[in-house]
């Protein structure tokens, strides 16, 4: 007979030798970062983007006359004019190159480019995340209905998706934005709609593979109903691809939003696409207007794409071998 103390120490030895060692979340993050430096880079950019979007106007010094947003530094539409004693009038600081006062210079309307990029992050993330969240929910729901019911329903849904995917997305967006009012909500809905087919197709194929697995058959054998199988057994097993689709898709949606704003079809408010469009007109005399807004779009899209790749590497067990 083994004493209980001996059994405990043996269990500890087993845990130490067989099970992977316990590491702190910070250490895990650092280790993952070292193994996936591009993923870490994208995570830093994404965190910075979220920080910019959330804390653009922070801290809200209510009632303080000269309070300024710490991160954005200025309001998005704030323009800068100095009184010129020789001209007896205010002269705008238009198209100023980057300086200590205006880190990324000013635009043709004498507005601070850095501030506008920070405020513009809100639009990009709100629309990007909102549209993709909505699109993913709808796409996953359609995928479940399609893949689980099979037969005629699946055929009709897939033909519909084929037809929808054949329609150029930018044309669809222009059509949607033109017939609806140019608001951020409508833009989000339009972008969500175009993301539905690709989400539903990928998730459907994952569901079809998963539903043939033995544990699904086992669940069915013990009498589990379709909703229970879908929610308890299939959904957790297709979560990884959904997360990957989501993270890669955000970049695509941000790019689509920027494209629409570039074409002048975006809703009112600061947008990187609109900044790029406006900066394009002044590229010969103040290239920084277009350069920095273009860089913001590039970085955001690149970060979400790299994050998607890194997540795929981490979440897909086949890629760990």
């Amino acid at each position: 007979m083994e004493s209980s103390g001996a059994a405990e120490s043996r269990a500890l030895v087993l845990e130490r030798e067989i099970l992977p060692p316990r590491v702190s979340p910070w250490r895990l993050a650092v280790r993952t970062g070292l193994r996936k430096p591009l993923g870490a880079f994208s995570a830093v950019i994404i965190v910075a983007l979220f920080g910019a979007a959330i804390f653009a106007g922070w801290p809200p010094f209510v009632g303080m006359a000269h309070a300024r947003p710490f991160l954005a530094r200025y309001e998005a539409e704030e323009s800068f004019f100095n009184y010129d004693e020789a001209k007896f009038m205010e002269i705008g600081l238009q198209k100023e190159p980057p300086s200590a006062a205006h880190w990324l210079g000013t635009d043709d309307q004498a507005r601070d480019t850095w501030s506008r990029i920070i405020w513009g992050a809100r639009r990009s993330l709100r629309v990007g995340l909102g549209a993709l969240a909505l699109g993913t929910i709808i796409g996953v729901a359609i995928a479940f209905v399609s893949a689980y019911s099979r037969g005629v329903v699946d055929l009709i849904i897939q033909h519909f998706m084929d037809a929808f995917q054949a329609f150029p997305p930018i044309l669809f967006l222009i059509l949607m934005v033109t017939i609806t009012s140019p608001t951020e909500n409508w833009l989000t809905i339009a972008l969500a709609v175009i993301s539905v087919p690709s989400v539903s197709r990928i998730v459907r194929s994952c569901i079809i593979t998963t539903r043939e697995m033995p544990y699904i058959e086992a669940a069915r054998a013990i009498g589990a109903g379709a909703p229970r199988i879908m929610i308890r057994h299939i959904l957790p097993n297709v979560t990884a691809p959904i997360i990957i689709i989501f993270s890669i898709g955000v970049g695509v949606v941000i790019l689509a939003e920027a494209s629409l704003s570039f074409l002048g079809l975006g809703p009112p408010g600061v947008s990187w696409g609109e900044m790029l469009n406006q900066g394009r007109l002044f590229v010969l005399t103040s290239p920084w207007q277009a350069l920095f807004s273009g860089m913001a779009i590039t970085l955001a899209v690149l970060a979400f794409n790299l994050a998607g790749d890194a997540l795929r590497d981490i979440l897909d067990p086949r890629l760990r071998i």
């Binding site: 430096p37 009184y83 001209k87 002269i91 705008g92 238009q94 005399t285 860089m295």
Partner: protein
């Protein structure tokens, strides 16, 4: 253990598409950062477009105290040493238009095309100075009294005659113009029974006419106009945009229009060869132009000197525009960013032109409730507060950079004969930009706004024209300006059609507050009577003011130019002090670059001048800058 080392794994990894893209992006970002260092470098201040204005006010900085800008020389024309060739430029003449009909269109660029194709009885020789000349008329009208205008037309004026026109309209090609054509062209616009009656936007001018007589018969060359009452601007009406003389037989008698490219057959210096919307307008020389030898004594015989003109729709960006100008694919052009002009002039040895345009940015209010809308600011103090609060100087700089004029009285500064002098205008509240004066104006704006109950007003919507782009781009700044000064938050809505919805809204008197660009006009009467008389065709304000009506009628009846000018100034004072239905903000100055080999180009403040300087243009092939120009 080696497997876990990222850097060792990296060394063994193949180049994949993902890695290539990632590397390229990183390299791009690095290059961008390097170029940024260049942008912000030491040369930036000297070479920059505006510099730090407060510290180094450059010559491009707008100066509201400048008098009228230097306008291209208006002295004798330069004799043409070389004939032929086609002049090309970037212009908005190929705009998709409402109608080709020269009496029905309201599209400014089309006025230019029409002015090259069709002739008028009289024409403007100099819009700045309000100086007129004869066109189809042989001499200026004889006016035995203040009601009668006797005009003798030039003999041997023929409608355009080409093979294409002969095939399509054999009766018109080469036909001699008669007094009957003039009578028809005017009476057509007075016909209230026409299905197109509402489109004759200058019909109200012709309602001043009592009768048109042809003393020598329909095929003669004499025409006698009799007005109902003394009408000082009647001579102007004969040279205005609606006064083109057209051949009667080309108008469809049922629909009363000649909305067809093929029917653009007139007697002007150029024949329309091609109109492709958003691409090009091409005109060719009319070898039988009646005025071809009018300037023979100035070295310009047998005009037009050129074989043709091409107005090419401009590229969307200045990079392409500059490339086309540098390679001489266009002989002159304007730019979106007016700061490019000085740089390009210096870089390639071109010349620059800068005029003052009669077009301007303005706002209109609904003054009294209409069937469709409630007037937002019926109290004059509220409108005055807005007039003082809106910063014209900032607006000009933010819309046009260095290329604008900040002083916009109710009649454009470009019409020197009728407008306020800039020296007088800068004394008026709202047009004062010295620090202390501006602060006084802002304080007064706040006081008036609060006294008139502004803080409790409901939010209103400013309807903004969708064209040009700078109007909608400026919308957030407009909102911010009003909110900062008066604490009043306005909504903005942009006309998605450009102007159509705004124009309909104005016609119905349902537009409570607009922000738009207006073409600008030629005579005092156009600027005042049409807008502010209770019966005016452009009175979208629902304005009916008996005192103002009387003043407007007085200026119409006053033939003495100086006295009429004084009445005009009194009307403008009254509008600024007692009415403020329309707030006039800023006008673009449209600087452009021109190659020195192009002779006789002149800046005019308005559309509709292709009869004036294009027939005199010539290409100096011997000039050193001509080398390398494509044929």
């Amino acid at each position: 253990m080696d497997e876990g080392n990222y850097w060792k794994r990296l060394a063994r990894r193949r180049l994949t598409r993902r890695r290539l893209l990632t590397g390229a992006a990183g390299m791009g970002a690095g290059l961008a950062a390097l170029s940024l260092v260049g942008c912000g470098g030491g040369g930036g201040k000297e070479n920059g477009p505006t510099g730090t204005a407060a510290a180094t006010p450059g010559p491009e900085c707008p100066d509201p105290f400048a008098t009228l800008p230097a306008i291209a020389p208006r002295g004798p024309w330069q004799p043409a040493k070389v004939r032929g060739g086609v002049v090309r430029w970037f212009g908005f003449d190929a705009i998709p238009l409402d109608t080709f009909d020269p009496h029905q269109t309201q599209f400014g660029p089309l006025f230019s095309i029409h002015s090259g194709i069709f002739s008028k009885v009289l024409a403007y020789d100099d819009v700045y100075d309000n100086r007129m000349m004869t066109d189809l008329a042989e001499t200026m009208p004889e006016t035995p009294d203040k009601l009668t205008y006797l005009i003798k037309l030039r003999p041997n004026v023929h409608f355009h005659d080409t093979e294409k026109i002969r095939n399509s309209f054999p009766d018109t090609a080469g036909r001699t113009l008669t007094a009957e054509d003039v009578k028809y062209s005017i009476e057509r616009q007075m016909n209230s029974a026409s299905p197109k009656a509402s489109l004759y936007y200058r019909a109200s001018q012709w309602t001043t006419l009592d009768k048109i007589e042809l003393p020598d018969g329909p095929s003669g060359l004499t025409i006698k106009f009799t007005t109902k009452a003394p009408t000082a601007p009647f001579v102007h009406y004969l040279g205005d945009t609606c006064a083109f003389i057209i051949p009667k037989e080309l108008v469809d008698p049922n629909s009363d229009d000649m909305n067809s490219l093929d029917k653009m057959v007139g007697t002007g210096p150029f024949i329309l060869d091609r109109f492709a919307a958003l691409q090009v307008v091409r005109m060719v020389r009319n070898p039988d132009w009646f005025a071809k030898d009018d300037l023979a004594d100035q070295g310009l015989p047998n005009r037009p000197i050129l074989d043709g003109l091409e107005s090419i729709w401009p590229p969307a960006d200045d990079t392409s525009t500059e490339a086309a100008f540098r390679s001489k694919q266009v002989d002159f052009t304007g730019y979106v960013d007016s700061d490019n002009v000085a740089r390009i002039v210096e870089a390639v040895g071109a010349e620059s032109d800068r005029g003052i345009t009669a077009g301007w940015v303005n706002s209109r209010f609904l003054l009294k409730d209409s069937e469709y809308a409630k007037a937002p600011f019926p109290d004059l103090r509220l409108r005055k507060a807005l007039h003082l609060a809106i910063d014209r100087s900032r607006m000009g700089q933010q819309m046009f950079g260095a290329g604008y004029f900040v002083l916009c009285p109710p009649v454009s500064l470009s019409l020197k004969q009728w407008a306020y002098t800039p020296e007088d205008l800068v004394k008026k509240p709202g047009y004062r930009f010295r620090r202390e004066e501006r602060e006084e104006d802002l304080a007064e704006a706040k006081r008036l706004w609060e006294a008139a109950g502004g803080p409790s007003l409901p939010q209103v919507e400013v309807f903004i024209a969708g064209i040009p782009d700078y109007l909608k781009n400026f919308a957030p700044q407009f909102q911010r300006n009003v909110q900062e000064v008066l604490g009043y938050r306005v909504k903005t809505r942009v006309d998605p059609t450009g102007y159509t919805e705004l124009a309909q809204c104005a016609l119905r008197k349902s537009c409570v507050w607009g922000l738009n660009y207006d073409n600008g006009w030629l005579d005092l009467d156009d600027w005042l009577y049409a807008y502010f008389h209770s019966t005016g065709s452009r009175n979208s304000f629902n304005l009916a003011d008996a005192t103002l009506d009387q003043m407007l009628e007085d200026q119409r009846a006053e033939f003495d130019r100086e006295r009429r000018r004084q009445i005009g100034l009194e009307i403008q004072d009254y509008l600024l002090d007692q009415v403020l239905a329309k707030l006039d903000y800023v006008a673009p100055s449209q600087p452009s670059t021109r190659w020195p080999y192009l002779g006789n180009r002149r800046m005019t403040p308005w559309f509709g001048d292709w009869y004036l300087y294009p027939p005199n243009l010539w290409l100096d092939t011997a000039h050193s800058t001509y080398e390398g120009r494509p044929a």
